[in-house]
Each structure stands twice: as structure tokens, then as C-alpha cells.
């Protein structure tokens, strides 16, 4: 069903938290409407963004200081508003949304290569930026590739 047909455009922002089943509200900061919630799931988010006809913009990866790990920020555009959703990564991995949102393909691959973050549930093409090299060497301070459940990195699995 077309969500935009049901929800008037001006109410779309207000409807998104409800559709995600969370009680938190938007906080506007640094040119972005942020919605932060501990219970937010990235695949649920992608599904709701699709229903709202939001346009995917990008994912930004951050390496946090010390041993605080990595953080991903997902951005979509709705009627000229930038929406931001932040995810702290527990084990340097997060579920891929490529099957839900075709536009994330290259940025998931780039982040995988730059930060050695594993987007689970997808296959990787050969490296986008540094073919044949090790993931995590471009933007991450330590270039240790993340291991998947099989003990191999995603790139090694592709090669296998």
C-alpha cells in the first residue's frame, strides 16, 4: 500500500516513529532530523523508509575513540529534510539492507573496505576501491578485517 497516499506530506515526519513502533521523537541538530532509539532495527528502518518513499542518501561510518568501536549513521531524504539514524556497532557488523534498498550497494561496499565493517546477509563484489587488498586499511586506524561466523572475512568468503 502506498504510505504517501495515506499520510499527508506534512505529517510524514511525525508518522515515521509511529511506523517504527518507537516512542522517541525527532531532534533537529546539525542540519539533520535525528531519531535515536535503542530498539531501532536497521532493516525495519529501511522497510519504513521505502514505504515513506524516502530517498536514501548515504551511510557515514565513524571510528569512535579508544575501544568504543564503530558507529554508522544512515541518512535518508524526505521532502527536502535529511533524516539521520545512528547505530552503534557491537561486533563490527550490522545487517545489510541491500536487498531492501538497492542504493546502499556501493556505500556498504565502501564502508566494508574502508572500515572493515561486515554488512551481513549480502555478498560482496570484488573490492570497490582497492581490488585485492585488505578491508579496513583505508579509513580505519587498525586494519584488522572483521571475521564472520565462519571465521573468514566477507572478502575471504567471496574468494572461497
Amino acid at each position: 500500500m502506498n504510505a504517501v497516499a495515506i499520510i499527508p506530506e506534512q505529517n510524514l515526519l511525525q508518522a515515521i516513529p509511529e511506523k517504527l513502533g518507537i516512542s522517541e521523537r525527532w531532534v533537529e541538530k546539525g542540519g539533520v532530523h535525528w531519531l535515536a532509539s535503542d530498539t531501532l532495527h536497521v532493516r525495519d528502518l529501511a522497510a519504513v523508509m521505502n514505504k515513506c518513499h524516502a530517498r536514501f542518501i548515504t551511510i557515514t561510518a565513524y571510528q569512535m575513540p579508544g575501544d568504543q568501536g564503530l558507529r554508522l549513521e544512515y541518512h535518508w531524504d524526505v521532502n527536502g529534510n535529511v533524516l539521520g539514524f545512528s547505530f552503534q556497532l557491537a561486533a563490527n557488523s550490522i545487517e545489510s539492507i541491500y536487498d531492501l534498498c538497492e542504493a546502499v550497494d556501493w556505500i556498504e561496499r565502501e564502508i566494508h573496505e574502508g572500515f572493515a565493517i561486515d554488512f551481513t546477509g549480502r555478498e560482496y563484489e570484488p573490492l570497490l576501491l582497492r581490488q585485492g587488498d585488505t578491508p579496513g586499511v583505508n579509513l580505519r586506524e587498525t586494519g584488522t578485517p572483521n571475521k564472520t561466523a565462519t571465521g573468514l572475512s566477507a572478502q575471504e568468503e567471496v574468494k572461497k
Binding site: 538497492e102 542504493a103 563484489e125 570497490l128 576501491l129
Partner: protein, 354 residues
């Protein structure tokens, strides 16, 4: 095909599977010019990082510093004065003219229309002359700074006269040939189609999206600088083919001239920057978006208080969003049409690789 494109002389590679002369599927490979600019930015201070980001792209260099400075202005709580906002619009639109005319020349060459290539490049030189008159530079203009611009436009009406001459030449030659000539029509109509649905699912931006019926333009949807005070149309075509992308850019040239005329005649007097000698950053992340000639550019800039350098600068360029759509454009196309199809998104590999 590649990694050196037959026309664009920038590297990327398209692996195509063909049946005879028909392309069945394709895969794209980029990264041949990866420079690690995002990583380099973390070792540059707030002045050096502007110069670094100006070099992300050789065509839309001004757009990158504009987007970066807008993000840094959020972190330093600065608002550029009105005259600076108008100057930012003037330089951004001149850059759009220069980019679109450059693209038109390359497209003409790929169509086999070499006299048109020469005409476009002659006009482009005149646009660059205007940029040189304003900034002193023809490629990297160094116009933007935190809190405004570095150089004033002393005599906006003199620049206006140059713009009007340019507009006359475009109306007399470029626009009619691209919109009505049989050559342009026969080489561009119905090829490299990107459907509206596919344009949405790929997250395409700029003229590529607008040629597939998506009326998105940040100058209208999320105005920045002085765009909220400008009257202009957002050209949209619905066929999604190479001709539609050509028409969108041709019409955008006219809209850019319209915006330039307004910005130059209505330019307010006053300061061109905030004049703050000391720049103080607050801790946080700021995001800024600008409608570059090829589409939306987005910067996410993170800073820690008392730090001279950004802790992270992420750049999402328009070609990074548009280029994956080439796969869908070339599927079913004739092999001979693929160089023109690829060029029709006006790809910038320099931006994409960063």
C-alpha cells in the same frame, strides 16, 4: 570497456556481457584514482581542509568548499552576511554553466557532432573567463571561507553584461541544436533509458534523476545560500533516455542564466564575511547539502572542541549515487551507444574516487 573511457579520459571500468552487439548485463568498477581525501582531511586544520576539499573535483570545486563551509559554519555558529550568500549563488551558477557546457561539448563529440564540441568549448572558455574575472582563477576559485567568501564582486553589472552575452550565444547555438537537431535526436532518443522506478530505487540525483521524472532539486527543496530569494524553474523530463538528460541540462543552462541575472542585479551591499579572526568549533557533527551540477553533494563533518582538525569528513558525491544506474541504462543497449550512455550521467570519477 575501460579503465580509460574513450571520451572522458578518467578511469573506470565497465565489464559488459554482450550477445552480438546488444549488452545483456554490466558491472562497474571504480577506485582507480582513490586518493584517500576523507582520511587526509583528518590531518588538515580548518583552513587547510577547505583547500583540500576544493580538489575533490576539478569541475565543481566550488561546490565542495561551499558544502564544507556550510557544515563548518553550523559547527562554529556563524551566518554569512547576505552579500556573501549572493556571491555564493553567482559562483555556484557559473560553475553549473561551465559544467553543463563542458558536458554538452563531450556529448556532442560522442554523438559525432564535432563542430558542436568546438562551439561548446568556446562558450565554456567564456564562462571560465567570467569566473577568472571574479576569483582570479579558472579552476579552483578559492571563493568560500568559514563565514562568507574570500573575494567580493566589485562590479556585478559588468559581470551581468558578460552573462547576457553568454546567454545570447547559448540561445542562438547550443540550445536549439541540442533540442531540435536531427543528429542529436537520432543519437539520443530512446537510448540508455532509466525508468522512473529504477531512478528511485538507485537513489539517483540531479539531472539524471530529473530526466527520469523526479522533480528533486535542493535549491528548491532545501534552499541554501540565497536560493530562497531566486525565482527559477526546475526542468523535469519523463522519458529517462539520453535525450531527456540532454534536454534537462540544456534547460538548466537557461535557468542558471535567469538565476545569475537575479543574483547580480539584486545583490545587497555589505560585508562579504563575518570577519571573525578566531574560529571556535563546538563538539558535534554537522551535515550540509548542495545541488551541484551533477546533483546532490552531502558532507558530514565531525569536530571536537579545541581541535584544529576535523575528526571525520564524509563526502557523498552525486556521481557516487548516479553511477550504479549505468548498469540499468546499458542493459539492452547497442554496444556502440554505451560511451554516450555512460557520458549522459555526466560522470565525475575524480569525485567518485575521492
Amino acid at each position: 570497456m575501460g579503465p580509460y573511457h574513450p571520451a572522458l579520459e578518467e578511469p573506470y571500468k565497465l565489464d559488459m556481457i554482450c550477445e552480438g552487439e546488444t549488452v545483456i548485463d554490466a558491472k562497474l568498477h571504480i577506485g582507480f584514482n582513490f586518493r584517500g581525501i576523507e582520511h587526509l582531511a583528518e590531518s588538515r586544520n580548518y583552513i587547510q581542509v577547505i583547500a583540500l576539499m576544493e580538489r575533490v573535483c576539478g569541475i565543481c570545486s566550488n561546490i565542495h568548499t561551499l558544502t564544507l563551509c556550510q557544515a563548518m559554519e553550523q559547527l562554529t555558529n556563524q551566518t554569512p552576511p547576505p552579500r556573501a550568500q549572493y556571491i555564493r549563488v553567482v559562483v555556484a551558477e557559473l560553475e553549473r554553466l561551465h559544467s553543463h557546457v563542458l558536458w554538452a561539448g563531450i556529448a556532442a563529440k560522442l554523438m559525432g557532432f564535432k563542430t558542436m564540441f568546438m562551439t561548446c568549448f568556446e562558450i565554456r572558455e567564456k564562462v571560465m573567463d567570467v569566473l577568472q574575472a571574479i576569483s582570479g582563477n579558472r579552476v579552483n576559485y578559492s571563493m568560500n571561507s568559514i563565514g562568507g567568501v574570500n573575494r567580493d564582486i566589485d562590479d556585478p553589472l559588468a559581470v551581468l553584461a558578460m552573462i547576457e552575452q553568454l546567454e545570447r550565444e547559448m540561445v542562438r547555438t547550443v540550445i536549439p541544436i541540442f533540442t531540435t537537431s536531427t543528429t542529436a535526436r537520432s543519437r539520443c532518443a530512446g537510448i540508455g533509458v532509466l525508468t522512473n522506478q529504477r531512478a528511485i530505487s538507485c537513489g539517483t540525483v540531479g539531472p539524471t534523476a530529473r530526466a527520469s521524472g523526479l522533480p528533486q532539486d535542493l535549491r528548491r527543496a532545501a534552499p541554501y545560500a540565497a536560493y530562497s530569494e531566486m525565482e527559477f524553474e526546475v526542468p523535469v523530463q519523463h522519458d529517462g533516455d539520453v535525450r531527456a538528460r540532454l534536454l534537462v541540462r540544456a534547460l538548466e543552462i537557461m535557468e542558471s542564466c535567469k538565476i545569475l541575472r537575479q543574483a547580480l542585479t539584486k545583490m545587497p551591499s555589505g560585508d562579504i564575511n563575518t570577519g571573525d579572526a578566531k574560529i571556535v568549533f563546538s563538539t558535534g557533527t554537522a551535515t550540509s547539502r548542495v545541488e551541484a551540477p551533477r546533483g546532490e553533494v552531502m558532507y558530514s563533518v565531525s569536530w571536537k572542541e579545541n581541535s584544529r582538525n576535523p575528526s571525520r569528513v564524509h563526502v557523498r558525491t552525486p556521481t557516487f549515487a548516479n553511477m550504479p544506474a549505468i548498469r540499468w541504462m546499458v542493459m539492452g543497449a547497442r554496444l556502440a551507444d554505451t560511451p554516450l550512455i555512460q557520458a549522459s550521467i555526466d560522470p565525475c570519477y575524480s569525485c567518485t574516487d575521492r
